[in-house]
């Protein structure tokens, strides 16, 4: 079903800088987490390819092919640099 859904996207680090907001609600017809990242990357010019990132859905890591549901919370995770 190609019906639109609304998801929340939270941004951290380099993505927050590039998007210039910490979070937003997005209306999308993207099927998977990967589709949504590609859509947002094109719209906002994110430099990093999906292959350099991980994605979290509703508070935990998820596969890029995870199908999105209305109300999902997504976080795209740039390369980490703790320690």
């Amino acid at each position: 079903m190609a019906a639109g859904k609304r998801v929340t996207v939270e941004y951290f680090a380099v993505l927050r800088e590039q998007r210039a907001v910490a979070s937003e609600t997005v209306a999308t017809s993207a099927r998977t987490a990967r589709d949504l990242y590609e859509e947002l990357r094109q719209r906002h010019g994110f430099a990093l390819e999906a292959g350099r990132l991980r994605v979290a859905v509703n508070g935990d890591f998820a596969p890029w092919e995870r199908e999105l549901a209305d109300g999902d919370r997504l976080v795209f995770i740039p390369p980490v640099a703790g320690g």
């Binding site: 350099r52 508070g59 935990d60 890591f61 390369p79 980490v80 703790g82 320690g83």
Partner: protein, 160 residues
């Protein structure tokens, strides 16, 4: 969590209290305590670092941090383990991450400590923003072209 927790992970905005954390590791059967402190270095990739800030996706950082400690406890014969990662502004010399483990014997303590810090660096959703003396600033590892090379793991024991 109470101080009696066997595994304890936190993301902290304030200075890390090493003495209090070390007390969490004490147990009658714990004959070995190994700790690691990651501190802010004054240089990175040939540039002078003036300050840095850590940012975390805290909900997931806590979840992943607790998973890493649980993995260490299942792989090694541990008594206790604790780890804290800082967020916010840090200065050169500040403690950015602290790992401590206790075990009956030193082999498990050293191995588990190494496991926890290596996994934390590889997996915790935490990002480092470095500012340099030349006025530039970067999110470490986030360049499109040149990912930072991981620190080489030392070979086995050499007794010279």
């Amino acid at each position: 969590m109470g101080s009696g927790e066997r595994l304890w992970f936190d993301v902290a905005g304030d200075a890390i209290d090493v003495a209090a954390l070390t007390r969490r590791l004490l147990a009658p059967a714990a004959g070995a305590v190994a700790t690691f402190e990651g501190r802010v270095r004054d240089h990175a990739a040939g540039k002078a670092v003036t300050s840095l800030a850590y940012e975390a996706y805290e909900e997931l950082a806590r979840r992943e941090g607790e998973r890493i400690l649980a993995e260490a406890a299942s792989r090694f014969a541990l008594e206790r383990a604790a780890c804290v990662h800082r967020v916010g502004q840090l200065r050169v010399g500040d403690c950015a991450v602290w790992v401590g483990v206790s075990a009956a014997h030193r082999g498990a303590a050293f191995a588990a400590c190494r496991y926890v810090i290596d996994e934390v660096k590889a997996r915790l959703p935490v990002w480092k923003h470095e500012r340099y003396a030349d006025g530039s600033a970067v999110w470490v590892n986030a360049s499109e072209v040149v990912p930072e090379q991981p620190e080489p793991v030392s070979p086995g024991p050499s007794r010279t």
